[in-house]
Amino acid sequence: MQTSIPARVTATAAIGLAVLWSHASCAGLGEPVGSIATDETALHATALAVTPAQSYDVHDLTMSGGASIREYATRAGMVFAVTWSGRGMPDLSVLLGGYYADYLRAANRHASRKIVSIATAGLVLHIVKLPRGFLGAAYVPALIPAGTSPQDIR
């Protein structure tokens, strides 16, 4: 399925260099952290905190309805993982960036109204609709910084 991912990663990585040390986060998965004002607006979210970890930064945001979003960005400013939980769904076309197309392909299979799962070399994604609320997480294996385990994504 998602065989075109390496190419996209390369492309976004190149763009990433241009905005390298840009400050606060909240770009889509596989994209460079961009203008927080722009992205907060797109996600109807407010940035709460940026927490540095060993080899990446964790950006916590809260959506207007109370849902929380967490973005994991490399020191080079690339978002390699996103997680979210709460009552409302975030705008996945913003949060997943170019990987939204992969989500759409999986969603259109309609295997389940409640679960969408992708587990490929290019993208790992999981969305669950609870009786009330959503849980979601996604990461790009190729972008995880050295020394970081997928288990660190929470």
Binding site: M1, H44, S64, G65, A81, T83, S85, R87, G88, M89, P90, D91, L92, S93, V94, L95, L96, Y100, Y103, L104, A106, A107, N108, R109, H110, A111, S112, R113, K114, I115, V116, S117, I118, A119, V124, L125, H126, I127, V128, K129, L130, P131, R132, G133, F134, L135, A137, A138, Y139, S149, P150, Q151, D152, I153, R154
Partner: protein
């Protein structure tokens, strides 16, 4: 079968179990009066009756007199049934159900020669008025025609009526029974006009709703209808009408980044959905309290749609909780299904938990669920999976186990193989745990989905179907106990704010 594998749906050929109709016309005009007060007409009540086989109901007769007074008439009456094989009536007006079908009861006043408008009696095929037949099958005709087949999807029919009318009704088949959500949703396309629903409004503007799922969203008006489920009727029930022309295009705050629209039968996978989960409303306090959530309820004046808060009483309601009785929960009873699967499976959904002999919990353990999310805990593979659900609206056991091979051609399902690479069955077990600490073991078997789907083109019910509930790194995951869990047992859904079996809901029990 096409692995488009829709979430299930099923149907029930419930003939015209509908709503018995009949207006009691206030019969023939006055037969003159001479000053003395005389009887001018009689009327029988109720005007229509839904009965189970073996059940009885007494008719009452009211006379209208020449001075306008009305009074009960108890003597001199004659009762007769048009179909004594369906329903009988005795000299006292006691109607008894004999066999499924429809009969007409005529009532006459032997002295005055008056006749009441006839009473229509519908004798139900189901065993009790608090029950609804359910079925697992290939789904609605439109879905099948689109080349898809429902898989492990539980369906029922409901009859939608114009508010206040017992005759302007339409029975809709293949509404998915979903214990993982709340409220009735119906595709506008299948409501062909017999019933005229009433648009709901908020602050004087049309009320519309966006419902998001993991794999897409629906959009449409909130409307009021009378709804018959099994032998019971709910008057003035708010329901979500999906994809109606009046609602137009979904606002971008509903549709943008929310996945595919599911506003057609083919995309939705059913003619609609009956959500009978633990909650009383589809949204609850979250939608009643500012700020108005995006992608939920909308007020839509001509200037455009904006998210709105909405009082819980105006929200789309759990239909069973709105019944006059047997309204504290449901029981779903399905038979065991042999391997590899069955073409169809029939069962029964009972209204109420512990309110009747037919919905009394036996040895079931009751596990409370998180009152905010509806989830409980599954202990499996050494982990406590806190985001777990018992969900008839999921078509497989969905859980995370990296040791089980995922199917190469459909990564939604598991395809376990043995050491030689041959398809095999895995016998597994997990322990469910309520928020109240109550635990119950749940053994289950996972088969090879390729083999199951290849076992017969007509199969729609698969008791061993499983699939990955993909874990992403260290993020929270759950165990989704989908429809296979419901086979060969009774599952009790106890609603929030109700108590049964010494347990305060929201809770789930099973045996």
């Amino acid at each position: 079968m096409s692995l488009a594998a829709w979430r299930a749906v099923s149907v029930i050929g419930r003939a015209s179990v509908g709503f018995a109709m009949l207006l009691v016309a206030a019969c023939g005009g006055g037969s003159g009066s001479t000053g003395a007060v005389t009887l001018v007409s009689i009327a029988a009540a109720p005007k229509s009756i839904s009965l189970n086989v073996g059940a009885t109901q007494v008719l009452s007769v009211t006379g209208t007199y020449s001075n306008g007074a009305m009074a009960s008439v108890t003597t001199g009456l004659g009762f007769s049934s048009s179909a004594t094989g369906v329903a009988t009536v005795d000299a006292s007006g006691v109607v008894a159900g004999v066999a499924p079908g429809t009969a007409q009861i005529d009532v006459t006043d032997g002295m005055g020669g008056f006749s009441a408008a006839p009473v229509t009696v519908a004798v139900l095929a189901s065993s009790a008025a608090n029950s609804l037949p359910v079925v697992v099958d290939q789904g609605p005709a439109v879905l099948v025609a689109s080349g898809q087949t429902a898989t492990n999807t539980l369906f029922a029919s409901a009859t939608i009526c114009t508010p206040g009318s017992a005759s302007a009704c339409q029975t809709i088949d293949h509404l998915q029974i979903d214990t993982g959500s709340t409220g009735i949703q119906i595709l506008s396309a299948v409501l062909t006009g017999a019933a005229t629903t009433t648009p709901a409004s908020v602050n004087g503007a049309p009320l519309r709703e966006c419902v998001q799922f993991a794999d897409g969203y629906t959009w449409g008006s909130v409307v009021i209808a009378d709804v018959q489920l099994g032998g019971r009727t709910i008057a003035s029930l708010p329901i979500h009408l999906i994809g109606d022309a009046a609602a137009g295009t979904a606002p971008s705050s509903c549709s943008t980044g929310a996945g595919p629209a599911e506003n057609t039968v083919a995309a939705f996978g059913a003619n609609g959905l009956i959500g009978v989960g633990n909650f009383l409303q589809d949204c609850g306090a979250y939608c009643a309290t500012p700020p108005a959530p995006s992608a939920a309820y909308y007020a839509c004046p001509s200037s455009g749609c904006l998210p709105t808060t909405l009082a819980v009483t105006q929200q789309v309601q759990n239909p069973v909780a709105m019944l006059a009785a047997d309204n504290n929960g449901i029981v779903i009873g399905l038979p065991s299904v042999g391997a590899p699967g069955a073409a169809s499976v029939s069962g029964t959904l009972y209204f109420g938990v512990g309110t009747q002999a037919d919905n009394a919990p036996s040895s079931a353990a009751f596990l409370t669920v998180d009152p905010a999310t509806g989830t409980l805990i599954t202990n499996f593979g050494g982990a406590a999976l806190t985001g777990s659900v018992i969900d008839s609206g999921s078509n497989a056991y969905f859980f995370n186990d990296s040791s089980i091979a995922v199917c190469a051609i459909n990564s939604s399902f598991f395809c376990p193989v043995d050491g030689s690479g041959a398809p095999t069955n895995l016998a597994l077990t997990a322990t469910l745990q309520g928020i109240n600490g109550v635990t119950a073991a749940a053994p289950f078997t996972i088969g090879n989905a390729n083999s199951l789907f290849g076992a017969g083109a007509n199969l729609t019910a698969f008791p061993t179907l499983g699939g990955p509930n993909g874990s992403v790194g260290g993020s929270i995951t759950g165990f989704d106990w989908g429809l296979p869990f419901f086979f060969s047992r009774s599952v009790y859904i106890l609603f929030e704010a109700h108590t049964a079996a010494a347990t305060a809901g929201p809770a789930i029990g099973f045996d």
